[in-house]
């Protein structure tokens, strides 16, 4: 028995971390639903959810409860076993990769030297959830949606992979922690060295997560709801969660590879005015954010329309105020510094996702595939080549770091312009 415990010892802390990450991620995914509805509403001059809790803050809980309590319908002609377990595959594939993502310097994420490959590999398993769910429903719209999804995911995964390659070339390692540490060492986020790769990653991420303008698998004006048309209740909620977790996942990958992971902006720079580093004020940002939230909620209390509303506002204000106060305790702020900046960047990324959804029309399927194969992939390949050349110029021929890569970037942009010119915007099908 003691031998078994010893053998299991190294697995315990990672397991604990996985459990915590899973809980936090479920919360983030739920919060994302609220944020998405709210941001979209404000873009569209509406209010969005306002009824459940102050400014609809409790809406995600209500939605989740509703979905959990709904009947779990399995179509009569469905392939029962696969139908029941397909959503589980999606969720597992969307959540497992978080095991390898370091949220902070002091995060105990396993530092695997092929972490990036594992993340790509495991997250690509999510396709099976979609394709099997669509097939098992034994219905036309889900099957068509699943086929479209698969074609789209496979196509854009190539571009996504190439975009990641330039980051790992710069980082010189496949370890997520190593890539962030390299960014800290060089004192520059890779997005400033490889903006084209970042752009490709961003667009491919939109396509990978089926977000506007690539939300064809769920194009409600054409395919009803795509692969999850026949799903209801808890299993639908699982797909929903997988989708939002996948969004968080690609944002987390982009943050780690290109936006410096847990690093604070200007981590290596000092602007000293009268013997005081002004930029170190950024360290107090977490306190400022929660403090601001508290004050804003307190300001809302007099204007609230009912006592329940006031009470709810007060509770939320107390929670946020409590967090702000806890951050001021000795030792807490440095400990959460990394996590805060990581999540901050992730949320900026997620906000862009929502913003795009409010702005862009949808691509047609053939246009989407043409964009993927005829534009994104060639540009991504060219970018990798120029990134390699840049690496050579910088390491072997002692060029300036920025100069070496920006020459390549400009050349890539030139190629991109040529490609874009060859397929004019209004080209017919």
């Amino acid at each position: 028995m003691a031998e078994l415990i010893d053998a299991l010892q190294p697995y315990l802390i990672p397991t604990l971390r996985v459990v915590i990450a899973f809980l936090v991620l479920s919360l983030i995914a739920a919060a994302m639903i609220w944020i998405e509805r709210k941001v979209l509403a404000h873009l569209q001059v509406r209010l969005g959810p306002m009824r459940v809790g102050p400014h609809g803050l409790l809406q995600p809980i209500a939605d989740t409860l509703k979905l959990l309590l709904k009947e779990d319908i399995v179509p009569a002609e469905a392939d029962r076993f696969i139908f029941l377990y397909a959503p589980v595959i999606s969720v597992i594939a969307a959540l497992t990769p978080f095991a390898f993502i370091p949220f902070a310097a002091n995060d105990r994420a396993p530092d695997v030297n092929v972490a990036l490959l594992f993340i790509i590999g495991v997250s690509s398993l999510g396709i099976f959830g979609i394709i099997l769910g669509g097939w098992a429903s034994n219905s036309h719209y889900p099957l068509l949606g699943a086929l479209r999804s698969t074609a789209q995911l496979v196509s854009y995964e190539v571009a996504l992979g190439f975009a990641l390659v330039s980051a790992l070339l710069l980082g010189g390692t496949l370890s997520m922690r190593g890539i962030v540490e390299k960014q800290a060492e060089l004192g520059v986020w890779f997005v400033f060295l490889q903006p084209v790769a970042f752009f490709i990653l961003f667009v491919a991420a939109l396509a990978e997560t089926n977000r506007n303008p690539f939300d064809l698998p769920e194009a409600e004006s054409e395919l009803v709801a795509g692969f999850h048309t026949e799903y209801s209740g808890f299993r639908f909620a699982l797909y929903f969660m997988a989708e939002y977790s996948a969004m968080v996942l690609v944002s987390a990958i982009a943050t780690t590879l290109f936006l410096g992971g847990w690093l604070r902006p200007f981590a290596n720079t000092e602007v000293v005015i009268q013997g005081f580093d002004v930029l170190s004020l950024l360290d107090w940002m977490p306190v400022a954010v929660f403090g601001f939230l508290t004050l804003w909620l307190l300001k809302e209390i007099p204007g609230a329309d009912s006592n329940t509303h006031r009470l709810a506002l007060l509770i939320f204000a107390a929670v946020f105020g409590g967090v702000a106060a806890a951050l001021l305790l000795p030792g807490v702020l440095p400990a959460v510094q990394g996590v805060f900046w990581f999540l901050f960047k992730v949320f900026i990324f997620l906000f862009c996702f929502i913003w795009f959804r409010g702005t862009f029309p949808r691509y047609r399927f053939d246009q989407l595939m043409r964009l993927g194969w005829h534009f994104m992939i060639p540009v991504a390949i060219v970018n990798v080549i120029f990134c390699g050349i840049g690496l050579l110029l910088w390491q072997q021929w002692d060029w300036n770091l920025a100069g070496a890569f920006w020459v390549g970037n400009l050349a890539t942009l030139l190629v991109a312009l040529l490609l874009a010119g060859r397929t004019p915007a209004g080209q017919a099908a």
């Binding site: 031998e3 078994l4 053998a7 299991l8 392939d79 696969i82 695997v112 030297n113 092929v114 490959l117 594992f118 790509i120 590999g121 495991v122 690509s124 398993l125 396709i127 099976f128 394709i131 099997l132 097939w135 099957l143 699943a146 086929l147 698969t150 074609a151 995911l153 496979v154 995964e157 496949l174």
Partner: protein, 167 residues
Amino acid sequence: MTFYLATFYVLGAIAVLSALLVITRRNPVHSAIFLIVTLLSVAGLYLQLQAEFLAAVQIILYIGGVMVLFLFVILLVNLEVTVRQEPFNRMWWIAGVAALVLLGELAVTYYLGRQAFAIPVTPAAALQPNTELIGRTLYQTYMLPFEIASVLLLVAMVGAVLMARRR
């Protein structure tokens, strides 16, 4: 060491069992799913051997790439016919005998040449950094075979495209 062995046997059993299920299921989608399970457990075995790069590539290429395309094609063709067909025809026992003979041959070969198979245990540290080692091996030591293999694959691809276009 018990934990290590336990995982090995569990993964091995899953791999063999689901490989059998791949060829015995009538529904090609089910077969594909079991093939995925087999490949996943093999990836697990790679991990046990400290070959995490291979494991990751196995997942990305075979499961995330090849199997997705498999399923894609299966969904495009008409399934009802295949479900009704017998997966084995009357010749199955000949194939069974052939397989048994092959197994016997392999066993005998292994037994006779057991000295040659006694590969010395490599210390785990020598296998790290895994990715770099594989990269060096592929692109320096075995550069020519690697390139020949890639040209071969390219030929196959061009051939497939040509055949598809002729239609």
